[in-house]
């Protein structure tokens, strides 16, 4: 069964190092909630967990169709993991469409649990099956458990006064109970969750709990499965942990940043997938002095945030690519007014509306260069769901210390994915507060004290901030070019040139930690020949791929960029130590081009834009081919890029079918038992 089987306990429970499970069903089947609860249960018993929700843009696509399928994949392990896994070992398919959309990605020999209640003539027809896959032999390569989940769930909740349709909706909790039993997970946390969630609907609450328990009992009593498994707790460092999604981690990082700056947090936002959840999280945190404002459009959202910053708040706005495009003019204003501001872009597939619920890294160049005029803005990237916390704090630190807008790039994979997060002690968090100006800092020609809003700190080039309400420091700022020091409107050519260079120098001078390389075989220059460098959410797949390559006896180095503008000062010297620098990206080579521009070093790109994260096995094979290409090059003169092109073509051909199967469905408002 799943992955490597370590041992069998006397009671027949088999231990696993790790397992990948995917829950799939119709939009209305509550798969997102089911997956989320399973992950929370696994996290609570100490497993490392990484998750990958996957759903389409439609809130409710046609019921029973492949287009309407929603899925949630979890990777649970007894060791440190950083991806949701390449291939599921276990697939729970709540209807024929869910089976059809997902079965091609299942590991050969994997386990399939299907709800037979939905395998009707109509159900098969809607899914596009010409024959019943449960009987036509097409699933012979898998271990299939065909169970009437709907029927058992309905029977289990018969005493709870629900309509027939509502009773059937508890099938997801029945399935969760069954899978929880299969993987030896206690369900008490989920019972507690259901109690709170349906506190106002006692019948629904009791029915969902009954269905969940019935699933466990079904597993225990029917001996339907030959084996029961368990994944032991991972050896995490001591501390308090929490299972955290990327969007929530970013929200908490922003709250912590405002706390550590001693300022109120003010969010101006306009709803957009997949960033809205940050707005939702912050909207409920008024108790922590978070002020949130839903604006009339993306432009007003950043406008309000800039106004908040001018008034002494930590101004923040959150959006995705199309919203970033609309905010571009206001970003330029924030640059010239030199106000602190954090802009979170949770990237999704583009251009235009593109793939609103799928992941991509294609807004990097927009973040770096997408403004009129010389308008440098620091860009930093989140690398994993829990990392959103630290990345958001870092964005706020730079914004405040340098009085500048900062773009924080996340993406849909990070936003919706989750992993355990060690909750920091408040005392561990850096203090990022700044001193506001309270007194005049210059004298005018007549010798009177005056405030010069564009005088600068010689170390950081940051300007003083005086907020309204401060006596004696009244001043006007705006989009017209500023005179050095006084901040007066100036059309002077030399001043404009000076100010452009000064604003650039301020950003270039931001304190950025050096790039670190992970290579067990040695330091740059004395270890591997190939360095794999990435940014953002490719961190997990690249890291696991590198581990695979090393386990196969080859050397490879990994580096990951937190700061993309400005880049670490040692970047060029690090890159130059490697024969080949490989840059995997979920775009057509945006970082690679940026690196070439900034370091004059050519890299080898590996690119995909399928709306899904890289699979680590795929990247491992790419890395291996690049390493082999170098070896071949020594003898045949071949080059890594050419080899890689062949690999890419082969992989594209082999993943075509799987790609087509990833169109699934959204649980925008998942509810238990629906």
């Amino acid at each position: 069964m799943p992955t490597e089987q370590l041992s069998e306990r006397p009671d027949g429970v088999r231990r696993l190092e790790n397992v990948v499970i995917r829950f799939a069903g119709d939009s209305g089947d509550g798969m997102q909630l089911t997956g989320d609860r399973f992950g929370a249960q696994a996290a609570a018993i100490g497993n490392d967990v990484a998750t990958l929700p996957n759903y389409p843009a439609e809130i409710r696509a046609p019921t029973g169709t492949v287009a309407g399928v929603s899925s949630y994949q979890l990777h649970i392990a007894d060791h440190d993991i950083s991806t949701p896994g390449d291939q599921p070992d276990v697939l729970i398919a709540m209807n024929p469409a869910a089976l059809k959309a997902n079965v091609t990605e299942l590991r050969p020999g994997g386990v399939i649990i299907v709800d037979t209640d939905t395998f009707t003539v109509l159900g098969l027809e809607k899914a596009g099956y010409e024959a019943d896959p449960l009987t036509d032999g097409s699933l012979d390569a898998y271990q299939v458990h065909a169970i009437n989940l709907t029927g058992f769930a309905s029977a289990a909740v018969a005493d709870h006064n629900l309509k027939r349709k509502d009773a059937a909706r508890t099938k997801n909790m029945f399935a969760l109970g069954l899978v929880s039993w299969m993987f030896s997970q206690p369900i008490e946390d989920t019972i507690e969750y259901l109690r709170k969630r349906f506190a106002s609907k006692p019948d629904v609450q009791a029915a969902n709990i009954a269905a969940l328990r019935a699933g466990v009992i079904y597993g225990e009593t029917t001996e339907a499965f030959a084996n029961v498994y368990e994944v032991k707790p991972a050896a995490l460092p001591p501390g308090t942990y929490r299972h955290l999604k990327g969007n929530k981690a970013v929200a908490y990082g922003l709250v912590a940043a405002a706390h550590q700056a001693g300022m109120p947090l003010f969010l101006g936002a306009y709803p957009i997938t997949p960033a809205s959840e940050i707005l939702h999280e912050l909207a409920i945190l008024a108790s922590n002095d978070v002020r949130s404002f839903q604006a009339e459009d993306e432009i007003a959202a950043i406008g309000a945030a800039i106004g908040g910053s001018f008034a002494g708040m930590l101004g923040v706005t959150v959006t995705s690519g199309p919203g970033m495009a609309l905010k571009a003019e206001a970003l330029g204003l924030a640059v010239i007014m030199e106000l602190p501001l954090v802009i979170v872009n949770v990237q999704r597939g583009g251009p235009s509306t593109g793939l609103p619920t799928k992941t991509e890294q294609s807004d990097l160049l927009q973040a770096l260069y997408g403004r009129h005029g010389e308008a440098p803005i620091p860009v930093i990237a989140v690398r994993s769901p829990a990392d959103g916390f630290n990345a958001a704090m870092e964005a706020a630190r730079i914004a405040l210390a340098y009085r500048t807008p900062v773009i924080l790039l996340s993406d849909a994979y990070i936003a919706n994915g989750s992993e355990p997060w060690r909750v920091p002690e408040v005392a561990e968090l850096p203090f990022i507060g700044i001193d506001l100006a309270t007194e005049a800092n210059a004298v005018d020609e007549a010798g009177n004290p005056v405030f010069h809003p564009y005088a600068r700190d010689p170390a950081t080039l940051a300007r003083p901030l005086a907020i309204p309400g401060t006596p004696g420091l009244t001043h006007r700022i705006g989009g017209l070019e500023k005179a050095d020091q006084t901040g007066a409107v100036s059309y002077d050519p030399d001043n404009h040139d000076l100010m452009i260079r000064t604003r650039q120098a301020k950003i270039d001078g931001i304190d950025v930690p050096p790039l670190e390389v992970d290579d067990p075989s040695g330091a740059p220059g004395s270890g591997a020949d190939v360095l794999v460098i990435g940014w953002g959410s490719t961190w997990g797949p690249i890291g696991e791929a590198c581990q695979t390559v090393r386990a196969a006896g080859m050397k490879v180095a990994q580096a990951h960029l937190r700061h993309i503008s400005p880049l670490p000062a040692n970047l060029a010297s690090v890159l130059s130590e490697y024969h080949t620098v490989l840059v995997p990206e979920m775009n057509l080579g945006q970082l690679a081009g940026h690196l070439r521009r900034e370091t004059l070093i050519d890299t080898v790109g590996y690119n995909q834009t399928r709306g899904m994260p890289f699979r680590s096995a795929e990247l491992a094979s790419v890395i291996i081919r690049v390493i082999q290409g170098i070896t071949e090059e020594d003898t045949t003169g071949d080059n890594a890029a050419k080899v890689l092109g062949d690999v890419a073509a082969r992989l594209a051909a082999s993943t075509g079918a799987a790609t087509a199967g990833t169109a699934t469905s959204q649980d925008a408002t998942p509810e238990a038992g629906r």
Binding site: F293, A301, A304, A311, A440, D444, T486, A488, V489
Partner: protein, 363 residues
């Protein structure tokens, strides 16, 4: 409008610093020393002068006053008033002002905008600021033309306006700013003119006293790119054509709360309400159906009818306060929500981060 008509290439001017002492503020405290750079004869000079006289009288210190503008001739105003200010980007001033106002109830926040800035590129922000009833005083300088970009027709220009971008006359039906504001649910809507200092001062004073969004349309001409005649003539002087209520010689109707709406040299005309349809029309000043002006009428239909009157029956729209009703401001509700959410002060960060679903890994 974009800044294509910025002329001077000189060195820095319009210093941004300044300040004031702790005594009662004076006109001088609100005055910056730099040269005012509007065309000679522009009504903006009169509005600036009125504001300099008005702000000290409001009893708000310069440092507690914030003026936010967009882009256009009008939007240069913040540079000439020694308060905190933002000369922002085209059309978006209400959004910046909203972020300031709702977070800082201690501040008096003003928006200065024009007909192009507020009604065209910034139309969305204007209507939403009014809808929310954000505590902003919005001064809409309406010269019915794009001045800074050299005279193109604006969304307030009359149909047929000949301009560089409409050489054969514009085809667009114009916005009526007062009607637009009423449609957006504004709680205070007024119209005044730049050429009547007393009326301007009284109207802006009333706007400043209003809790919530106040929109004041200030009608003006443009001495450089005028599409409309300099106006108005005011009520003073003997009209030459009193037989026609639509005569431009009458000047605008002046709305006064509690008084019947009558006009003309001998008050021979009046605004009457048709009892069967409820519609407003021009009738005889002595008619028993003459309307007594009440800006506090809860239903905005009356004010709307008044705002539309000029389009059919008058040469110029009435001036004065069209609507002034009390409704909690967004700022007030927002601050109350914040206060309710944190009765004991800011919540504990560690408690928030730990949540209810954490677990402990022992060392």
């Amino acid at each position: 409008m974009s800044e294509v008509n910025e002329t001077s290439g000189a060195t820095a001017e319009e210093p941004a610093g300044g300040g004031s002492g702790r005594r009662a503020p004076t006109v001088a405290d609100f005055t910056t020393p730099q040269e005012v750079r509007w065309c000679p004869g522009c009504g903006d000079h009169a509005i600036l002068s009125t504001m300099r006289g008005l702000l000290p009288a409001l009893g708000v210190a310069p440092e507690n006053t914030v003026i936010v503008s967009g882009i256009g001739c009008s939007s240069r105003l913040p540079y000439y008033l020694d308060t905190y200010g933002i000369h922002s980007i085209h059309g978006r001033a209400p959004s910046f002002a909203t972020g300031i106002s709702i977070n800082r109830p201690d501040l008096s926040v003003w928006v200065v905008t024009g007909d192009g800035d507020a009604l065209s590129i910034g139309g969305n922000h204007l209507i939403h600021a009014l809808r929310r009833n954000v505590n902003l005083k919005i001064l809409l300088f309406n010269n019915q033309i794009y001045g800074l970009t050299k005279g193109q027709f604006s969304p307030a220009s009359k149909v047929g306006t000949v301009s560089p971008s409409s050489p054969h006359g514009s085809l667009d039906y114009p916005f009526n700013p007062v009607a637009l504001a009423l449609g957006a649910g504004a709680t205070f809507v007024a119209r005044t003119v730049d050429s009547d200092r007393r009326h301007l001062t009284a109207t802006l004073t009333a706007a400043a006293a209003h809790q919530g969004a106040a929109l004041v349309e200030i009608r003006q001409g443009c001495p450089t790119f005028s599409a409309i005649p300099r106006q108005p003539r005011g009520a003073a002087g003997a009209p030459s054509d009193t037989d026609n209520p639509a005569s431009p010689d009458l000047g605008p109707i002046r709305l006064s709360p509690g008084l019947p709406i009558v006009f003309g040299g001998n008050e021979q005309w009046g605004v009457i309400r048709d009892p069967s349809t409820g519609e407003l029309a021009i009738g005889n000043g002595g008619d028993s159906r003459v309307v007594v002006h009440d800006p506090g009428t809860p239903n905005s239909t009356y004010a709307y009818g008044l705002a539309r009157l000029a389009e059919t029956a008058l040469a110029e729209p009435p001036i004065g306060v069209y609507r002034s009703v009390s409704q909690p401001s967004f700022d007030q509700l927002y601050q109350e929500r914040l206060a309710t959410a944190r009765p004991g002060g800011r919540g504990d960060l560690r408690t928030l981060m730990t949540g209810a679903d954490s677990w402990v890994v022992a060392g």
